[in-house]
Structures are given as structure tokens and as C-alpha cells.
Symmetry: C2
Subunit: 270 residues, 2 copies
């Protein structure tokens, strides 16, 4: 049985976020000295797959990273893509929407940064913010929320039907782990730039966010774009699991090498 099975949210199944243990480490090698080595090897392997995807030049890979503050979205990107080239991997970060963005539908800004053929794009936060923040803040009624879930599923179907494979990961940490990580940012003046007082406001709404995540994941884990909940208290485990997931997905894509062009056979450059 695939080690991913327990963490992949089955479409339509009853799903409870509390059933996933944030401290679990099923993808961590037993010997600690093997961990860094394992990550190096996976990062290098991911680079080789990215090159193949680029050479094929036809399909696309979209990695959606969601998670509470300090859950490790930046760290995941740093480590998992530590060996790939910026030629083929691009990050789009979603902040609070600008005035220009709010003047359009919530998927408008996402559509502008979908991967092009042959490319891997990582969304650091995503369109899912629009079914989290407004829900917790009480800005959306139930009917509107339901419409948004359906709009998200339709949008993601458009992308998958046009050659994009979507991998959605929730970086799952517990509340005490967040406390420690926020405290570390406060205690180290060199990390103050990563912190704002607003982070504490959001933390006070922890339970409401967990519930909003649970509902969003339940409503949007589809056959074409399933969610994976990544136990992320252990940073190395988080990185290894996501790297392995991406490699598995790329392998399953059965990428064909770029074809030779018979017109070039025997050509001599002068």
C-alpha cells in the first residue's frame, strides 16, 4: 500500500483534519544521518524530472502549498527545489489581494500565473485563501461559499484538462508547534522581518481556520486535483514527503522524451 494513501483525501469521503497527526513521520529515514542525504538525492532526482518535463514541452505541473503561518511553505520551496533550475521552476506568492485584484473575480490573479508548457509552478498560498480568510471573518454566506468551492473545482478541471497536473498540499502543524516557531521569530531580532503582529491575530482564530481548512479540503479534493495533508511538525519529514510526492506524480505522467526531427539527420553545420 502506498504510504501516501492515508494522507491523500479521497473525493467525497468524510474527512477530518484532526484524524491526521501533525507529528507523524512516515517518510523519515530511521537513521538521522541519512535524512540530509535523502533530501539531496530527491532534490537532484526532481531536477532530472523537471528537465524531462521541460524537454517534453507539453504538460505542466502546479504545486499548491497551503498552511497556517510558520507551517513551512517557504522552507518547503527552499529545500524541495534546492537543486532545480529557475529556468523551469517558478514561484507565485499570493498576499492579501490588491485593489486591482479585488476588482475582479478571485480566480483572475491565479489564472495569470498558471504554469506554461514544460514548467513547474509553485503557488505559495493560492485561490484557497479566498475560501479561508473570508469564511473565518464571516464575510461569506454559505451559498456564496458553496459557489466558490464549485468555481474552484471547475477552474482546476480546466487546468487539468489542458495538460496541467495539480498537486495540492496542506502543511499540517499543530498549535503548539506554531507557538514555538512564532516565538523563535520574535526572540531572534534577525527574523523580525518575517513576523508581524497580525500573525498573532490570526493565531487567535486557530480553531476557526482549522475548520475552514477541513471544509475546503473536503469540498475540493477531487479526482482531478486531490489534496494531500502533509504532517509538517518535523521539517525534514515535510520536505521529504513533498519531494517524494512530486517525483511520484512526475513518474506517473509517463513523460515522453522530445522526439527526434528526421529533417535534421545528416545535417552539417558550416
Amino acid at each position: 500500500m502506498s504510504r501516501f494513501k492515508h494522507y491523500r483525501v479521497r473525493p467525497g469521503a468524510p474527512f477530518r483534519l484532526a484524524d491526521i497527526d501533525p507529528t507523524a513521520t512516515p517518510f523519515l529515514p530511521e537513521a538521522e544521518h541519512h535524512q540530509r542525504e535523502a533530501l539531496e538525492l530527491l532534490a537532484a532526482e526532481l531536477d532530472r524530472w523537471q528537465n524531462l518535463l521541460h524537454a517534453e514541452g507539453r504538460r505542466k505541473l502546479l504545486l499548491v502549498l497551503q498552511g497556517m503561518d510558520t507551517s513551512g511553505k517557504d522552507g518547503t520551496i527552499r529545500w524541495v527545489f534546492s537543486r532545480t533550475s529557475p529556468l523551469g521552476v517558478r514561484v507565485a506568492a499570493f498576499k492579501a489581494p490588491t485593489e486591482e485584484e479585488r476588482a475582479r473575480d478571485f480566480l483572475w490573479r491565479c489564472h495569470q500565473v498558471v504554469p506554461r508548457a514544460g514548467e513547474i509552478v509553485v503557488w505559495n498560498r493560492s485561490h484557497y485563501e479566498d475560501v479561508l480568510v473570508p469564511v473565518v471573518e464571516g464575510w461569506l454566506d454559505k451559498a456564496e461559499l458553496k459557489r466558490r468551492y464549485a468555481q474552484i473545482n471547475d477552474f482546476e478541471r480546466l487546468l487539468t484538462e489542458t495538460g496541467t497536473v495539480i498537486v495540492k498540499c496542506l502543511l499540517h502543524i499543530d498549535k503548539d508547534e506554531q507557538r514555538q516557531r512564532l516565538q523563535a521569530r520574535i526572540d531572534d531580532p534577525g527574523k523580525h522581518w518575517k513576523f508581524s503582529l497580525g500573525d498573532l491575530e490570526v493565531r487567535r482564530k486557530w480553531d476557526a481556520y482549522q475548520l475552514a481548512y477541513e471544509r475546503a479540503i473536503r469540498a475540493t479534493s477531487t479526482a482531478h486535483a486531490p489534496w494531500t495533508v502533509v504532517p509538517a511538525n518535523d521539517k525534514t519529514h515535510r520536505n521529504l514527503m513533498i519531494a517524494r510526492l512530486l517525483i511520484k506524480v512526475l513518474r506517473d505522467m509517463k513523460i515522453s522524451p522530445a522526439p527526434a526531427n528526421p529533417a535534421y539527420a545528416g545535417l552539417k553545420v558550416e
Copy 2:
């Protein structure tokens, strides 16, 4: 004396591209087994500088890569940025302008992909294509070309005056080196996707392109955005020289660490 001096084009000086030997390797360690190690160390050092630039969150670095087909623009990006994170390094590739792009001034599409605060952006080809291709093809008269040079200098001054450090590199190979590299792409069917018959058309105009480069570099190597000619027949030399140049530039920027916020002192997360 800095090893870069001979390769940095002095503003207003008489400059002849033929004076720079594409086979020179002043930045190559003598022992071959030290080369890979040197590049690994520089790539890791560049990652540390990129993190500082990101944490400072104020200034920007723009690397412009120009060169004939096969001169190694992609390879440079792959190796020099093999250790940096896609969080802080972005590549913009310039192809033949689209209809939308041709409907605006030639700097319009460039302006859209300038680095944001804290970011390194690499331009794989650039606005310089617009003072090369149309010159070789005879589409521009002298007065218009002169205006474009001035427009480029003005545009680059705007960027530097608003916090962007611009590093412009010509990857300088000789005609025989290009012959071998194009032939290698033809002889390896797995590399056909990198080749098109149009590459041979452009190669036939080699001398005209060299002259157009020489004139463009002479007209646009300014104090605020100087050109460096990188001997690039040797790929490892090319990578080492550009990595060293970027690190030198970043060091000269005297990046200050992000300041602590006194309001956060003693704060306890609950």
C-alpha cells in the same frame, strides 16, 4: 588589479569585441578537479547573498545575459543558480516579440519583468535583441538606432536610480565553437528540440551580429550599467566568472541585515 578589469567595458572607451579572446580562462582554477568544487562553493555563496538581499527587501539585482545561439545562456542559469531558491530568483526569457508586444514600445515587455524589492531576476536575452536583430536585418536607420541606445540608457538609469543593480554579460564564443555546439545538437536526436533550421540562418550572419553587438555594447556600457564580456568557449570558466562577478557586485552593495523591531522585544506567544 581586478581580474574583471580587462573584461569590463569602460563607458565611452573605444571597444573592439575582437580584442577579447573567447578562449581565455582567467577565472578557471588550474587543477581540473577543483573546478566543480569551486562552482559548488560559489553557487552556495550566491545563495547566501540572495537570502541577505531578500531579507533586506529593499534593493534588486538584474542580470542580463546576451550571446549568440549556443553561447550558454541556459547553461549559465542552470549552474550559477543551482543552489539558490526559486523564492528569490526568477528568469524571464525574451523570444521574438508577440503581436501584443510589437504593438508597444520595445521596452514595455521588459519593464513588466523587472525585479521586485529583494529579488534577483535574470533576463535570458533582453531589450538588447531590439538593437541587434533589426540592425542585422536592416530594419532600423541610424537615427532610430541611436535613439534606441539612448532609450536603453535612460531606462537602465531609471532602474538603477530606483534601487536595481544591473549586471550585463555578453557570453562571448567564437564561430568555430558555435559550429561544434550546433553540430552536437544535430547529432544527438535527444537535443533536436533545442535546434531549429533558423539557427543556421542566423549563423550565416555571424559577422554582422558581432558588429551589432560591438556597437551596442559601446553605446550602452554606462557607469550605472556597464557591460562585461565573458570568455565563454570554456563552459566552466563562463560559469565561474559570472558567479564571481555576481558575488562581487552583491558584496559591493553592502547589504544591511533587516533591522530588529523594538516593538517585538519581550513578546510572548500564547
